[in-house]
Symmetry: C2
Subunit: 211 residues, 2 copies
C-alpha cells in the first residue's frame, strides 16, 4: 500500500511492473523496498519485510545488497542521479532564453516527481535514514540540482528577463513547489501530468516575475 | 538529535524547554516524542524510546497517553488546530483587500512552520502513521487550511486583484512553498524569521500575479 496525496493507502494489484520487460532481482528488490518503506518508513522496515514483499528470501536480498541501508542509499542515489542527468540534458537543449531555460527545468522537475511519485516522496522524507558519508554526498547532489535553478533565475534577473527582488528565495520556492507535486498528485485527477507541468511553468515564470 | 535542512543532526543541549514555565508531564512527553520521532520516524520509535527521552518510565507515559498512536495523533492534532486558529484570527483582522489577506495568510503559515520546525516536519512526513478515523479527520483539517488560501486567491482573481490563470494551482503552490520553509530553515541563517515571512509574502503575491 502506498500513501497518496490524501494520505489514504492504495493497494497495488498484480506484480511490481518494470516497464514491460523481465525485471532483474535488484530491480524487484528496489521496487519492493520503495513500496514497503513508503508504508512504514525506513526505520520501520526490516530486511525481512522487503524480502517478503519482493517474494525472495533475506539471503537472496543479501546477494544484491549488503544491508537495508545499502538498499535505501541505492534508491536515493539512482533517483537524484536520474534527476540531475535529465536536468542537464534539458538545459543543454533549452537555448539561451531565460524563460525557456526555466520552463525546461520546471518540466523536468515536475514530470520526474509525478512519474516516480512514491520513490521521490521516499527520497524527500528519508534523508534522515542515510548514514554518513552517504548522506552528505546525497545532499551535495541535491544542492547541484538547486544550483541549476539558481543559475537560471540569477541569470534571468541579471538580464532583466525576471524582475523578482528575491531570486534566491524564488529559485528555492520553485524547486519546493515542483517537488511538492508528488505529495498531492492523483493519477485519476482532472489534469494530465503534462498539463500540470505546463501550469507549473506558468506559475514559476510568475514567481520570478518574468517580463 | 534533530534533522536540519542539511540533514545533519543537531544535538539538543539541556532539558526540553517549554516557554519558561514548569512543563507538564504531557508536554514533556510530546516534546520528547517529536525529538525521537524526528530521528527515527514514527514506525521506528517505540514507547520505550519516548519514555527514555522524556526521563520517564513507560508506565508513566501510559498515564498520559493510551498508545504511541495516541501520542502521534495528539501532536498532529494540536499542530493543525493551532495553525487553523492562527489563520482564522489573521484573516479576521486582515481587512477586505485581497493582497492584504494573502499577506496575512502567508505570514501565519511561514512563521508557524519556522517556529515549530521539527513538529511541522513530523506532521508533514508522518501522516502515514495515523490510523483511521484519525487520519481522515486530520486530512480534513489540512483541507480547511488549504481552503482558506483557495478562498483568498479565488476572491482576488474574481476582483481582478490577482491575474493568475491558475488560481487553484497557485493557491496550492503557495501553501506548499510556505510549508517547505521547515525543510531548509536554519536558525543561524542570514535571514530572521520575519524577513523570511516578508519575502514569502512578496513571492506569493508574484505567484498569484498581484496587480
Amino acid at each position: 500500500m502506498i500513501p497518496t496525496h490524501s494520505g489514504r493507502p492504495v493497494r497495488r494489484t498484480g506484480p511490481i511492473p518494470i516497464a514491460g520487460r523481465r525485471a532483474t532481482g535488484e530491480e524487484i528488490i528496489l521496487a519492493a523496498s520503495i513500496e514497503v518503506m513508503s508504508e512504514h518508513g525506513y526505520h520501520g522496515t526490516s530486511v525481512r519485510d522487503i524480502a517478503e514483499r519482493a517474494g525472495l528470501s533475506p539471503a537472496a536480498l543479501y546477494h544484491h545488497f549488503s544491508s537495508k541501508h545499502d538498499v535505501l542509499a541505492t534508491i536515493m542515489d539512482r533517483g537524484i542521479e536520474e534527476l540531475l542527468s535529465r536536468t542537464r540534458t534539458a538545459l543543454q537543449s533549452a537555448g539561451d532564453d531565460p524563460p525557456d531555460r526555466l520552463r525546461a527545468l520546471v518540466a523536468v522537475h515536475v514530470l520526474f516527481h509525478l512519474e516516480d511519485q512514491r520513490g521521490t516522496l521516499l527520497g524527500t522524507s528519508e534523508v534522515r535514514g542515510l548514514e554518513e558519508p552517504v548522506r552528505s554526498e546525497h545532499l551535495a547532489k541535491r544542492q547541484q540540482q538547486q544550483r541549476m535553478f539558481d543559475g537560471v533565475v540569477s541569470d534571468g534577473t541579471q538580464r532583466r528577463a525576471f524582475r523578482t527582488e528575491y531570486p534566491q528565495e524564488a529559485s528555492r520556492a520553485v524547486v519546493v513547489m515542483c517537488t511538492g507535486v508528488a505529495s498531492w498528485y492523483h493519477p485519476e485527477g482532472p489534469l494530465t501530468r503534462e498539463e500540470i507541468a505546463q501550469r507549473y511553468q506558468v506559475l514559476a515564470l510568475d514567481l520570478v516575475g518574468a517580463a
